[in-house]
């Protein structure tokens, strides 16, 4: 009996030792800092999931080739363990658990979309694993008091705020009439809350407030109301489906509205899929290549755009740019913390204050980035029918003048 006990104790001690040493090896193996990420490589978010992964990979490549990360006088390189979360929140939560408890990852990168980030955040929080995410903008992520979650992007409620303020400014500071249609998902509803706040601030009135279903592919009813009630601004947010459906039906039904503001235009490749019909649409974006932010690794937006296009064969949407920025934030935090202690890295992340090619990054206590404004671009086409997105607001970054009001269909 006694001998058996001793043997059991002995083996469990060895097992314990091995398991802890595996964990501590997993986070930093030799000269590698291993980050974990679950991204959507299949399922409904797979296109944006791939943009996210490409953004991460591009930054890893760049940081490693430019000398890596210096911690405690030693140079390390980044490496990422990827899993496919199948665009499924449950799977994402499982994978977070697996990355942390089986693979021993101690630092995480975020998945694509607010919904999946929401599923993973409680897990990373539970284990005290710092997570820098670049694709979850929902406001509810930042009101839960998470300590280990940091988002490099502006929260969802700010997406179209600037559109309303611009419309009011152009209206001589008087409130405007707003018509809005939002999909019923966490992200779009947050965008809606932002509009409500902006309307309240500026004394604007919301005259149409429609909700769109997930299976949305027809919003004719909303547009008929818009025709009848003639608002000053029409705001639509329903991911790529919403943007494509809105432009298709607005152009087919010849709906005249002085300002049309949307989200997800670049993900929907509006100007490519709709050509001239998408002209004058205003789109909220986290990033645009013409912005003049600079950093050491990617230089600026234009260089990033060119390098990314060379590496992956297509122009980077903002989802890729913000994902690359997440790695820059991690590198900076590791170097300032000068340690791999999760708490220290967390504190260093919280104290981040830097400029990247993607924008300035400084986190509020909730974890959202508060020092980078959203930009608005407008789809502008030349006479040959070639359309381009040009930044029109905020004025500091504008590369073209906002065309307002949108010309009537009968005059185009």
């Amino acid at each position: 009996m006694k001998i058996k006990n001793i043997i059991i104790t002995f083996f469990s001690a060895i097992a314990l030792l091995l398991s802890t040493s595996v964990v501590s090896f997993a986070k930093v193996v030799g000269d590698k800092i291993v980050l974990g990420a679950a991204v959507s490589l299949t399922g409904k978010y797979s296109s944006n999931g791939v943009h996210t992964q490409n953004g991460y990979n591009m930054a890893v490549d760049r940081i490693n080739s430019m000398g890596g990360i210096k911690v405690g006088g030693k140079t390390y390189k980044f490496e990422i363990i990827y899993y496919d979360d199948e665009s499924n929140p449950k799977r994402a939560a499982q994978l977070a658990e697996r990355l942390i408890s089986q693979d021993g990852v101690e630092f995480m990168l975020g998945p694509y979309s607010s919904g999946l980030t929401k599923a993973m955040a409680p897990v990373t929080e539970k284990y005290g694993v710092p997570m820098v995410e670049a694709n979850g903008a929902s406001r509810s992520l930042f009101t839960k008091g998470y300590k280990y979650l940091f988002a490099v992007l502006a929260p969802a409620n700010l997406y179209l705020d600037v559109a309303i303020r611009t419309a009011v400014e152009l209206n001589g500071g008087k409130g405007v009439k707003i018509a809005q249609a939002f999909e019923q998902d966490a992200f779009s509803q947050d965008v809606r809350l932002g509009i409500l706040d902006a309307a309240k601030d500026t004394g604007s009135e919301i005259i149409i407030d429609d909700k769109l279903p997930k299976e949305l592919n027809d919003m004719a009813a909303t547009l008929v109301k818009v025709k009848q009630m003639k608002p000053d601004v029409l705001v639509v947010s329903g991911h790529t489906k919403g943007a494509l459906t809105a432009i298709r039906q607005i152009s087919e039904m010849k709906v005249d509205v002085p300002m049309l503001a949307m989200t997800h235009c670049d993900a929907a490749k509006l100007s490519k899929q709709h050509g001239k019909n998408s002209q004058y649409a205003l789109c909220a974006s986290q990033w645009h290549k013409t912005l003049t932010y600079k950093d050491k690794w990617f230089k600026d937006g234009m260089t990033y755009d060119a390098d990314f296009t060379k590496m992956f064969g297509y122009a980077p949407p903002y989802q890729a740019a913000e994902s690359s920025a997440a790695l820059l934030v991690f590198k900076d935090a590791f170097e300032r913390a000068n340690s791999f202690d999760q708490k220290k890295v967390r504190d260093a992340l919280a104290a981040t204050d830097m400029q990247t090619f993607y924008g300035n990054i400084k986190f509020a206590p909730g974890g959202q980035n508060v020092s980078k404004p959203m930009v608005l671009f407008q789809v502008m086409c030349d006479s040959s029918g070639k359309c381009e997105n040009k930044v029109v607001a905020p004025l500091k970054w504008a590369s073209a003048k906002l065309i307002h009001p949108i010309p009537k269909w009968s005059e185009r």
Binding site: K44, R248, E252
Partner: protein
């Protein structure tokens, strides 16, 4: 609740016309479902996914510079063979089993198709631009996109062709005979196996036409099939099997119902209201059925 739709007569007209045009398209999909339900006693859950696949065929033609309206011709031809393929691989093994097995099997096909389409075409929402203009009625107060009119027109043409084909051709008669009594048809020399395959193929072809039309009028996405399955199921339930005018009418009725639900309850309840209506109709049918039974006692 918003009763604006009744306050402005022009909006009422708009809603009715939109609904009818949409309903005709739904009826085409439902007709395929009714056909295969009647002949093979199979409820095809993958109906909507076949529609979306048909839509992708038109979309790819559009990508390669061919006008997507040609998809109306090309897509059914390709889809016919896809349908035959599915029949040979899966459906012929479940065709004479009970309904539950076939629902499970087609549900599996539906999931498989969604994932395959996602894998092959990506998860982006896409559409094909027809470049058709817009028709203005009543002093510009009612606006109808020509693409919607085009799709209703094409649906009607295909429905008429199909009815004539079913009445006149040898295969059409064999299909109808099999629907009435498969065993008797077999005894009288009808190759029911061939009839089943053809029926499934024809259904897939109809889905192909509808899909091409949807890519022109709305948008397509690998996961958008289910609402079309539900709508056609609903139309068939209301109209009954083998009742073509009934399918057409209940299709248009459903279209108008959806439009009005959209205006009155809000767009978010559009699909929800279809589900609700489905439940109500099923309950009502059940209620009627149980009454009859009591009466017989």
């Amino acid at each position: 609740m918003d009763f604006m739709v009744f306050q402005y007569p022009m909006i009422t007209v708009q809603a009715c016309l939109d609904g009818i045009l949409l309903g005709i398209l739904f009826a085409l999909i439902a007709y395929g479902m009714a056909l295969q339900w009647g002949v093979m006693n199979i409820i095809n859950i993958a109906q909507g996914d076949l529609v979306i696949l048909g839509g992708y065929i038109a979309y790819f033609m559009y990508l390669y510079g061919i006008h997507p309206a040609w998809g109306v011709i090309v897509s059914p031809i390709i889809m016919y063979f896809v349908g035959i393929g599915i029949y040979k691989l899966v459906i012929n093994k479940v065709v004479d089993r009970d309904l539950f097995i076939s629902i499970l099997a087609t549900f599996g096909i539906s999931i498989l198709f969604m994932q395959l389409m996602n894998f092959a075409f990506g998860a982006d929402v896409v559409l094909a631009n027809s470049g058709y203009g817009t028709t203005f009625l009543f002093d510009n107060n009612v606006v109808l996109p020509n693409s919607k009119i085009f799709s209703a027109f094409v649906s009607i043409v295909f429905a008429i062709c199909l009815v004539i084909y079913m009445k006149k051709s040898k295969l059409g008669r064999a299909i109808r005979a099999t629907a009435q009594n498969a065993r008797a048809a077999k005894i009288l020399g009808v190759d029911t196996e061939k009839v089943y395959a053809a029926t499934f193929g024809i259904n897939a072809a109809l889905c192909g036409v509808a899909g091409a039309l949807i890519s022109i009028t709305f948008t397509i996405h690998p996961y958008m099939g289910l609402p079309y399955t539900i709508r056609s199921f609903m139309i068939v339930i209301v109209a009954g099997l083998g009742n073509l005018p009934g399918v057409a009418l209940s299709g248009m009725g459903l279209g108008v119902f959806e439009e009005f639900a959209d205006y009155i309850l809000g767009t978010e309840f559009r699909i929800g209201s279809v589900f609700l209506l489905l439940v109500l109709i099923l309950v009502y049918r059940r209620f009627k059925l149980s009454k009859k039974r009591e009466y017989l006692k």
